[in-house]
Amino acid sequence: MDTNDSLRVASLWHSMHAISQQLSPTTGCSEIELLEANTFDLHCFQSLTGSKFFVVCKLGTQHMEALLKVVYELYTDYVLKNPFYEMKMPIRCEVFDINLTQTVQKDRVALLGR
């Protein structure tokens, strides 16, 4: 997926997330945490500042909430502390990408045992 596609998906998700708050039959709905589709799961984490982190994974993958929390910490360290990163712009921080890939790899090894 290139940058434009990512932006498109992200903005779609942002809108759906917002609409879900109004669709909810009960009050106090603040976010969509999990979307279960036929062939994939989508886990979403929303910080108290309104930033949303979501991951698309195979059906039934465990511990994605923990992964999202780790990604949030990586974001606060490698993206927000980069003085040249402009808020709300696409993230082009190499160190963030490297650490993110390492985290996902570690997670994959831990989950699948290989």
Binding site: A18, Q22, S47, T49, G50, Y72, T76, L80
Partner: protein, 186 residues
């Protein structure tokens, strides 16, 4: 999986990498001196320090939320306690206390017993209007704005100006929850 419990300021402070406190104090001092040289007017420097603090605050809030695992504060009183007990401890290593609440619970004072920014500092006569630690008021204002609160933060007491403590007044102006323009009548 049950959500992780919120961490105390001490625990987080102990777990992060730290820098030499004197380096921090010297760096901040150099910033203030340079601003005074560049801008010359004390009021301008105050404004600039506040703006710098604001830019720090809007980023710092996410780190605070990520590391401390706090859940949404129920009211402004809890928010103020969080800033004083967890926030100041986590980032500056100092304990602060909250006092002087007004009747509606929208205005309080945060009192700092200790302030690493001002070690070794004495204000000369030419800088009497300067709020040396004004960056802190900007940080709090910026951080709270990112969690939907518009506030006004001002200095009530400043030891560099002869008072006996550092006291910040934090006043909640209004809550601004994120608006989504999905109403039918728009």
């Amino acid at each position: 999986m049950p959500p992780a419990a919120p961490r105390s300021g001490d625990a987080i402070f102990a777990s992060v990498e730290r820098v030499n406190a004197e380096l921090f104090t010297l760096t901040y001092g150099a910033i203030v001196r340079q601003l005074l040289t560049d801008l010359e007017e004390v009021e301008e420097v105050n404004k600039q320090l506040d703006q710098m603090g604001y830019n720090i605050g809007i980023r710092l809030i996410d780190e605070f939320l990520a590391k401390s695992n706090v859940s949404r504060c129920v009211d402004f009183k809890e928010t103020a306690e969080m800033i004083a007990k967890v926030g100041f401890k986590m980032f500056l290593g100092v304990t602060a206390s909250v006092m002087n609440w007004d009747a509606d619970g929208t205005c309080c004072s945060i009192v700092l017993e200790d302030n690493p920014l001002v070690d070794f500092v004495e204000l000369p006569d030419t800088c009497q209007g300067l709020y040396y630690c004004n960056i802190l008021s900007g940080v709090i204002r910026g951080a709270l704005e990112m969690v939907a609160m518009k506030t006004e933060v001002t200095w009530i007491r400043d030891m560099l100006r002869g008072d006996d403590a550092y006291e910040l007044q934090v006043k909640l102006l209004k809550q601004v929850p994120e608006e989504y323009p999905y109403k039918d009548d728009e």
